[in-house]
């Protein structure tokens, strides 16, 4: 079945990052007691920091947020690590020729099989998005389960909302990589172009303090005020669907 091929093509790009993320969360949580102790000694001058621009704002946001365990988890995991690594994983999972095998061969074999090209795109999208959701959800769930080991707790509802925010935006970057994979035959150009686009968006958003995709991904409004960024998530979902539709359309009109 097409999903089997998609799974075999992407399994190592899923399993290895999953292990990395799980270990990353483990290290992050067990680091908390020392960070909390350190932050108790830090005194900030908010006005002076604000005047230093984006870097000062980041330091201020970091220290202010991390004074609580919920804030520490949000800032270190959902805002930083998951935003960056999640985007990277999304782009990696979406990259790679949809019709060939993982080594780049086998396109004509795929095209000789009794499935439409739309079915191959749908299979890659379904498997890739499923893997992406697991990549985001498992480490986040790990936070809920491991927190009691360090004498803390993290609400499952908080983790669930943060996962939805991260997945919604990562899905758009994944879909961009899928579209690029129908334009380029290799794995690296879609990866570099989609990854590069994410870096540019992130830099622009950070420098101009915009309410952009990475802010939606981090669930900042939910962390700060309990407001789920439905508008941003809806826009991301629409972009993801549009990109996947474009990928299917582009593939359907190609000659091999």
């Amino acid at each position: 079945m097409p999903w089997q091929k998609s799974w075999l093509d992407t399994r190592w790009r899923f399993v290895i990052p999953l292990l990395v993320l799980v270990l990353n969360v483990w290290g992050l949580l067990f680091e908390y007691p020392r960070v909390a102790e350190l932050l108790r000694t830090v005194q900030l001058q908010p006005d002076a920091l604000s005047e230093t621009g984006a870097l000062g704002r980041a330091i201020l946001e970091s220290v202010s947020a991390e004074r609580t365990y919920r804030g520490y988890v949000w800032y270190q995991w959902f805002r930083n690590n998951l935003s960056q690594l999640g985007t990277l994983m999304a782009v990696l999972l979406g990259s790679g020729n949809l019709l060939s095998g993982s080594t780049g061969a086998g396109t004509l074999f795929t095209l000789s099989l009794p499935r439409s090209r739309d079915a191959w795109v749908a299979a890659r999208a379904a498997v890739g998005l499923g893997e992406l959701l697991i990549l985001i959800a498992i480490p986040s769930l790990e936070i809920v389960l491991v927190s009691p080991l360090i004498g803390q707790s993290y609400a499952l509802s908080d983790a669930a909302v943060q996962v939805v925010c991260a997945f919604g935006v990562c899905a758009a970057f994944f879909s961009l990589a899928v579209l690029l994979s129908t334009i380029f035959v290799d794995t690296w150009r879609p990866f570099l172009i989609a990854g590069g686009s994410a870096v540019i968006v992130s830099l622009v958003e950070s420098q101009l303090a915009l309410n952009g995709p990475f802010r939606v991904m981090s669930g900042a409004t939910y962390f700060a005020g309990g407001v789920v960024p439905w508008v941003g998530l809806t826009i991301s979902a629409a972009i993801a669907i549009g990109l996947l539709y474009s990928a299917a359309f582009n593939l359907s009109r190609q000659d091999f």
Binding site: K5, G101, L108, F109, L113, D255
Partner: protein
């Protein structure tokens, strides 16, 4: 167009930018035949096969496979459900093992023939757990053939199935093909450069040149109808003006005049009789000779 043909194309054209790969190809392959598709490099053989399997869309014209329109998306899926294909490069998933790719292909075909799979696994001695990328070219070809034959297909489309194989492996593959066709009622469209291979297995031949079919018909009929007439004269050979439509070429060399005809031998001989040659010899032509006469252009 009629469903009597397993494959039929009418005025099929395909252009890639300024390059015309097919320029009005008319092709008919009867059901149950083993048809050899011959042509030089770039003649349009592979493009034809790709159009038939929906890998490439024609610029114009029509192509039907097993009664279904090749350029219709849903029909194309149904065509591939009933067709086995081996590509020229034996393009398979390199990272899968032999077992994995066989299981993967089997899952896509309700008509998968486990008995055929087992038979060729034994006959070809395929290493179950070795990755495709580690297989020799010959073994890879055998695997590609197993995957095509086991689909329970009504039509096999094979693009240069013996390319790069040593003589022993070639013979093994051809014998497997012939015995499969004999035991299962399938149609085979076999593209190849290797004329002896086609001559060995095909009952029908289509020669493609410049994107068009220049010769088509049962192999026996072609062998019967093509003749080389050699006339020897006492002095320099004359240059005849032949009106018979069957004469396709004449060549003078010293005292010898050679005429090639593809039909109407008696008419051609009647036209040549007044030239008073001292000796006349009529010779049959091999497929190789017919091929070269066809692709070198009619004169």
């Amino acid at each position: 167009m009629t469903d009597a043909w397993a494959v039929e194309t009418v005025d099929l054209k395909k252009s890639y930018g300024d390059t015309e790969a097919l320029r009005g190809l008319d092709l008919q392959v009867p059901r149950g035949s083993l048809c050899g598709l011959l042509g030089r490099n770039g003649a349009g053989k592979t493009t034809t096969l790709k159009v038939l399997l929906g890998m490439t869309r024609p610029t114009s014209g029509a192509a039907r496979v097993l009664g279904l329109a090749a350029d219709n998306r849903s029909d194309s899926v149904r065509i591939r459900q009933r067709t086995g294909f081996v590509s020229e490069d034996k393009d398979l998933y390199d990272a899968m093992t032999v077992d994995e790719i066989v299981r993967f292909a089997a899952s896509l075909y309700p008509t998968w023939r486990k008995d055929v799979e087992d038979r060729y696994r034994r006959a070809f001695e395929l290493p179950h757990h070795r990755r495709v990328q580690e297989l020799s070219r010959g073994t890879r070809t055998k695997l590609a053939l197993l995957l095509a034959l086991s689909r329970g297909a009504e039509l096999l489309v094979l693009d240069e199935p013996t390319s790069g194989l040593d003589p022993a492996a070639t013979e093994e593959v051809l014998q497997a093909l012939v015995s499969h066709v004999a035991s299962d009622e399938v149609t085979v469209l076999l593209s190849s450069h290797h004329l002896p291979h086609i001559e060995q297995v095909a009952d029908r031949v289509v020669i493609v040149d410049g994107g068009k079919a220049v010769v088509a018909g049962p192999l026996e009929d072609l062998r019967e109808s093509y003749r080389r007439i050699q006339l020897v004269f006492a002095d320099a050979a004359p240059q005849p003006t032949l009106r018979a439509s069957g004469a396709i070429r004449s060549e003078r060399r010293g005292r010898v005049l050679t005429v090639v005809c593809r039909s109407g031998l008696d008419q051609v001989l009647a036209e040549l009789r007044p030239l008073n040659a001292v000796a006349v010899e009529v010779m049959p032509m091999s497929l190789k000779e017919i091929f070269f006469e066809s692709v070198n252009g009619e004169r």
